[in-house]
């Protein structure tokens, strides 16, 4: 079980003066159950890439295999695929539309042809997983706080019981607690539901905390696909792509310059703390 992209290329306005690559010869394989972060400068192709993974965009050439099947082959059931690969867009709260929270979350499962009862059961489970309590079920989604709306929108996708959850910057615009809660929720879904999570992010610090694989895009090309720590070794290249490494990794580099023999790939507060407690003498 996996998502495999083979020589995926997407050309905008082919044959005109405005021809440009949105994706250029991208190949990778995402193993089942992994937590992958996709990072890249604005315009690098991140959002275009994830919309190929559930068949919203068709590639100019190359293709995507889901569980060994070519999703762009004739006769492939893309509608069924989209219930297995759930996509949460940027600012998903703008897509809430029903009169109350529970009905909004039931929309997806009902659309899949499930009965009211089944859809309601799915919606309840999804809402529980995102931490929305029963007291909010009958509230209008528009009366909720920003963080709550975002979670209801994510529940709407979860209720379809996807095998893969793709999220485009799910923490953008949230306050610190909202950010922490959203990331913690994704880690839990990943470890408990064994869902494959693909997270588009701008924050290297968030990525360092939760992803086990990191994909770096630059000008429509895939530059790195490796464990975050390995990617963070390439400070200068990342900077030349308009990206940065986590603040803690920069600190490790500064400490090495100052004469401390610390692992240059530490990237989180807890790792740095453990390393420093081993090294420092007082």
């Amino acid at each position: 079980m996996s998502i495999r992209a083979e020589h995926l290329t997407h050309l905008y306005s082919p044959g005109t003066a405005f021809e440009s690559y949105a994706l250029k010869d991208i190949s990778f394989e995402i193993a089942d159950g992994s937590f992958v972060a996709v990072i890249g400068h604005t315009g690098s192709g991140k959002s275009t890439l994830i919309q190929h993974l559930n068949g919203l965009y068709r590639p100019t050439s190359g293709t995507v295999y889901y569980n060994g099947e070519d999703i762009f082959a004739e006769g492939y059931d893309l509608k069924a695929l989209r219930t297995k690969i759930g996509l949460v867009f940027q600012y998903p709260e703008y897509q809430l539309f029903e009169e109350d929270v529970i009905t909004d979350v039931m929309f997806g499962p009902k659309n899949m042809g499930l009965s009211d009862d089944e859809a309601r059961a799915r919606a309840k489970k999804a809402l529980m997983q995102v931490g929305i309590g029963e007291s909010l079920y009958k509230r209008s989604p528009f009366d909720l706080s920003g963080g709550q709306k975002r979670r209801v929108a994510i529940a709407g996708v979860l209720a379809m019981d996807p095998e893969v959850l793709i999220l485009d910057e799910p923490t953008a615009g949230l306050d610190p607690r909202g950010r922490e809660e959203t990331l913690a929720m994704l880690e839990e879904l990943h470890s408990e539901r064994k869902i494959t999570v693909i997270l588009v992010s701008h924050s290297m610090d968030d990525v360092a905390e939760c992803a086990d694989m990191l994909m770096v895009l630059k000008d429509a090309e895939l530059k790195f696909f490796d464990r975050p720590k390995e990617v963070f070794r390439h400070v200068e290249e990342l900077e030349s792509y308009g990206l940065a490494v986590p603040e803690i990794t920069y600190l490790a580099h500064d400490l090495i310059k100052a004469g401390l023999d610390i692992d240059p790939t530490v990237s989180t507060v807890s790792e740095a703390k453990a390393e420093l407690l081993k090294l420092l003498k007082w």
Partner: protein, 294 residues
């Protein structure tokens, strides 16, 4: 001189049912008093719903306090005859860049404000030039805003406010929707306008890192200035405020990662000072404890 003086202000939001009956009242500002000194760079922090944005809208006279007095540049916001002058002296930049741009060409967008107050065209031109230079958008002045990135659009929005020659700019989460590059640009411009043009900046943000270089941080909670665990107001320099790690966490906030690491090391008994904010400060503080032989 205080450019903003808030004395015991209250503000409420009301939720009404379809018969216009009030079914819920939320106190967004609850006896808030604070003064902001002219020329300073102040950061307002607090979790969603703490009253930050409500306060910002009151400064701009978009809303009026229900009780209490709010003076902006010496003018009472409750006096309707002063509203336009208040908005000239205190401009506002919002979160979503797309909601703030109205024209098809950058320089026309920047000229909108000065045109609206009926200035002669030479003065409009002069102000537009100055404002576009101040935000470093000269190369884009004849471009269409829809060809710009989010960060560039925010710079155009800031130029539009600069063209009104304000004394104070309120930034209501201007970086929330931007990528790291755009965020850096907008923050640098805010600091430059503060330093070089002596414009008072009130910056509302959820990114703790953006507050590190402010002159002063004010934390809001339940519509007034938050208190630390010992009951003292959370109002001070970044060093003061970010020394209070536990207090900030109790208020659903965080500290910059470097500050958090320093705090964690202190908790383990490493004798370093409180309130370390930058990598350089932390490296300097840790140097005495490096092992002697390598």
């Amino acid at each position: 001189m205080n450019i903003i003086k808030a004395a015991h202000i209250f503000y409420e939001y009301m939720v009404r049912d379809e018969n216009d009956k009030v079914i819920e009242t939320t106190k967004a500002l609850n006896d808030l008093s604070l003064d902001i000194e002219e020329g300073s760079f102040v950061c307002l922090l607090g979790h969603n719903g703490c009253g930050k944005s409500t306060f910002a809208k009151l400064i701009n006279a978009l809303n009026l306090p229900k009780e209490g007095t709010l003076l902006v540049n010496g003018m009472d916001t409750a006096d309707g005859s002063l509203t336009l002058r208040i908005r000239e002296s205190a401009g506002m930049v919002f979160q979503n860049p797309d909601n703030q741009i109205i024209s098809n060409i950058v320089e026309e967008d920047v000229a909108f404000g000065p045109e609206n107050i009926g200035l002669p065209s030479e003065e409009i031109m002069e102000r537009v030039d100055e404002a576009i230079n101040a935000v470093g958008m000269q190369a884009f002045r004849n471009k269409s805003p829809n060809q710009l990135s989010g960060g560039q659009k925010q710079r155009v929005a800031i130029a539009g406010i600069m063209a009104m020659r304000p004394k104070c700019i309120i930034f209501d989460e201007p970086t929330a929707m931007l990528d790291p590059d755009g965020r850096k640009d907008v923050l640098e411009i805010a600091h430059r306008l503060n330093r070089e043009e002596n414009i008072t900046i009130v910056h509302i943000t959820h990114y703790m890192e953006e507050a590190v270089d402010a002159d002063r941080i004010i934390v809001l909670e339940n519509g007034s200035i938050a208190e630390d665990l010992e009951g003292r107001p959370m109002d001070g320099t970044p060093k003061d405020i970010f020394s209070k790690v536990e207090d900030l966490k109790a208020l659903a906030l965080t500290v910059p990662v470097i500050t958090e690491l320093a705090y964690e090391l202190r908790k383990e008994g490493l004798p370093i000072r409180e309130g370390i904010l930058t990598r350089k400060e932390l490296v300097d503080a840790l140097k005495p404890f490096f092992p002697k032989t390598r």
